[in-house]
């Protein structure tokens, strides 16, 4: 009888090509996603060394970070050039490299184009129990399907392209269990913010998190992707939610997902992956769903989390002197004074998008708040950036685009956009943004930009009031 194993251990064991004496393993990679920012130097390396891509069939490339979110083709259907020369050059490099190395490529103007972490699950390219990598830290996102998915650097991208493997040491495991029922207006984003607020931005370092408990069992796949996406903000390299009927229903019939007999065989294997009773995690963190309120960040680390009903904290209130110092710096950068009610803070920019919160459910949640309301006059830009062309089409089929446009939002083409400001979508210096993205680092949304991370519904609420707002006050219901 084998010892009980966790979900992580089962996936790991199923991908060991070779185990070395020191415990590191050569791990086979089932799926490799490639985008334009972290791949040029990897392809350059292959070319210089005369190496080929070992498994182009397991590799999928799509541009996302640099693409402008304004229309990409003119009225006659001709592709419009990208104004920024360096962005255009990175895109051109991927367009050259993908065919040269025989990799499937989703073109910038294809309806399937989108943020790599939205496209993978949506196409059924990302699968439960698979090892998935991408030169992007938010690859942790795909763990929402029960895949062991993590970000890698460009040298590792090159390594995977050349060998379809990575040399890895096993991680420790951390269970984050949330039981109970989420209150009215509390979304998956609030859950993950609460978790990071609890464990800290380095709390998961060296660990892979498995999210367990009724909150995740009851959560949609979209919500699980949101939670797993931000595992990296808690320091963990990957997050996992055990695949279940919800996962299978989500994947069935997706273009690249197994079909027919293959589907049945796949589901049968996926069902064996759940953590065995009695398996042990290296660390266990437990939260009560009832304690989680609609939340947001006040500082420049994703651990700087406060409920929307809260106030800007006093740096002196932190026990750790270096945290006090960090909080003072954060507040100076953010232009906030301790004791200010979060709900009294005005915002000039709204960003609803990013691989954390740009799927159809996110847009529905935002539209439910925006419906019949107007973006406040002090808000200078309010962007809705769907995660993929398919999300955009779905939203348009449901009439969500009209709700947003009538309310005064801008309805954009898919891409990373204001999440990291590599394309023209930026928050002006010194201005504040209510953002559904995942990072509130200094300068992340543009030099001098002040970011508050929150859920799509909360971002929409901030848009229509012009200040950080408790969404529950707008849409009624009780907390």
């Amino acid at each position: 009888m084998n010892a009980p194993r966790t979900l992580y251990e089962k996936i790991w064991d199923a991908h060991v090509v070779e185990r070395r004496d020191d415990g590191t393993c050569l791990i086979f990679i089932d799926r490799h996603l490639v985008h334009e920012v972290t791949s040029p130097q990897a392809f350059e390396g292959l070319r210089v060394a005369g190496r080929r891509v070992r498994r182009p069939d397991l590799t999928l490339a799509v541009p996302d970070h640099n693409l402008p979110t304004t229309p990409r083709v003119d009225a006659a259907g001709h592709r419009l050039p990208i104004a920024d020369a360096e962005s255009a050059q990175q895109l051109a490099a991927l367009e050259r490299n993908a065919p040269e190395f025989g990799i499937r490529y989703i073109d910038a103007t294809a309806p399937e184009q989108g943020i790599v972490h939205v496209v993978g699950p949506e196409q059924g390219f990302s699968l439960p129990g698979a090892t998935i990598v991408c030169g992007d830290s938010h690859t942790s996102c795909h763990g929402g399907l029960g895949a062991l998915a993590f970000g890698i650097g460009t040298s590792e991208v090159e390594h995977v392209l050349a060998t379809q493997t990575l040399l890895l040491s096993p991680s420790k495991t951390m269970e984050v269990r949330v039981d109970g029922t989420l209150g009215f207006g509390v979304s998956p984003k609030d859950v993950v913010l609460a978790i990071i607020g609890r464990i800290g931005a380095a709390g998961g370092t060296g660990h892979v998190i498995e999210y367990t408990g009724s909150v995740f069992r009851d959560m949609s796949v979209e919500g699980r992707l949101t939670v797993s996406n931000m595992s990296i903000e808690g320091g963990a390299r990957a997050g996992l939610v055990a695949p279940d009927e919800t996962t299978f229903a989500y994947l069935k019939g997706r273009p690249m997902a197994p079909a027919g007999q293959d589907w049945d065989a796949a589901v049968a294997w996926w069902r064996t992956l759940a953590t065995d009773p009695g398996a042990r995690y290296d660390k266990v963190v437990v939260l009560d769903a009832a304690d989680i309120a609609p939340s947001l960040t006040w500082g420049t680390s994703p651990e700087d989390v406060v409920p929307i009903t809260g106030v800007v904290p006093d740096p002196e209130s932190f026990a750790d002197p270096s945290k006090q110092e960090a909080a003072r710096k954060s507040l100076a950068y953010m232009g906030l004074t301790p004791g200010t009610r979060m709900q009294d803070v005005a915002v000039e920019n709204i960003f609803i998008g990013s691989c954390t919160n740009s799927r159809i459910e996110d847009l529905r949640a935002a539209a439910a708040v925006a419906r019949g309301r107007r973006v406040a006059s002090n808000v200078r830009q309010a962007l809705i950036v769907p995660g993929s062309g398919l999300v955009k089409r779905q939203a348009e089929a449901e009439g969500l685009d009209r709700i947003f446009i009538e309310a005064g939002f801008q309805w954009r083409e898919p891409g990373c956009s204001m999440c990291l400001a590599m394309n023209p979508d930026k928050v002006p210096s010194g201005e504040r943004c209510a953002s559904t993205s995942n990072r509130n680092f200094v300068g992340r949304q543009g030099p001098g930009a002040r970011t508050h991370l929150l859920s799509p519904a909360m971002a929409a609420a901030a848009a229509v009031t012009g200040r950080l707002t408790d969404v529950r006050d707008l849409v009624g219901g009780s907390a």
């Binding site: 090509v17 070779e18 070395r20 590191t24 050569l26 086979f28 799926r31 920012v37 972290t38 040029p40 130097q41 350059e44 060394a49 190496r51 999928l60 970070h65 640099n66 360096e86 962005s87 990175q90 490099a93 499937r104 059924g124 699968l127 698979a130 030169g135 830290s137 690859t139 970000g151 650097g153 460009t154 040298s155 590792e156 090159e158 390594h159 050349a162 060998t163 379809q164 493997t165 040399l167 040491s169 380095a202 370092t205 320091g235 390299r237 273009p255 690249m256 997902a257 197994p258 079909a259 293959d262 065989a265 796949a266 270096s322 945290k323 960090a326 400001a421 990072r439 680092f441 200094v442």
Partner: protein
């Protein structure tokens, strides 16, 4: 990669916690398609602060950087390691590193040295005016004042760094094992072969 045994010289006494990859190299420098030249964008936001260590002539060209907890957190961008390498940094000392950053650093021949906070505090003090030495052979960090801090490092990484080995070449030599794994999985989990879509 150049083999590396000892890194000796001045060290930037940065000391801060949670220095993220956006601080090491801001996103607007990520548009390059080559590895060289990123040093000019390194620590741009810190360099905007008067009196910062990076523009202090005392430390110009220092091969070592000393930082606080969780150095290199944030994105997986290897540009952070390239930028440090381009500045001439060959070793970073901190109480902890983000996993991805330390992997990237290693692959670019930069040693990440984990030491307890007390040791890092002492080194920050010494580094203000004196050189320090990181030695892979003895796994120690030493100062001109008899300080000697022993650190742990993965033996495989240490070997690779000391011999300047190319990791891809090492793995390609395991081709037979990879092919055997692929053949086995093609039988056990045939549905894993990606569909055309």
């Amino acid at each position: 990669m150049d083999p590396i045994t000892t890194v000796e010289g001045r060290a930037y006494p940065l000391g801060r916690k949670n220095v993220d990859t956006d601080v090491i190299i801001p996103a607007h420098y990520l548009k390059t398609i080559t590895r060289a030249g990123l040093g000019r964008g390194a620590f741009e936001t810190i360099r905007a602060e008067p009196g910062n260590v990076f523009d202090d002539p005392d430390y110009a060209g220092a091969p070592i950087l000393i930082a606080g907890d969780n150095f290199g957190c944030g994105s997986s961008r290897e540009h952070a390691a390239w930028a440090l390498g381009d500045m001439g940094v060959k070793a970073v000392i901190a109480p902890s590193f983000s996993d991805i950053f330390s992997g990237n650093a290693f692959k670019n021949g930069i040693v990440t040295v984990v030491l307890p906070q007390e040791a890092v505090d002492r080194l920050l003090e010494v580094a203000k005016d004196h050189p320090i030495t990181v030695d892979l052979e003895s796994r120690t960090v030493t100062t001109p004042f008899q300080d000697r801090f022993v650190f742990e490092i993965d033996p495989f990484r240490r070997d690779c760094l000391m011999q300047g080995l190319d990791e891809i070449g090492l793995t390609l030599a395991r081709d037979a094992a990879i092919s055997a794994y692929e053949a086995r999985i093609a039988g056990e989990r045939p549905w894993l072969a990606a569909k055309a879509g």
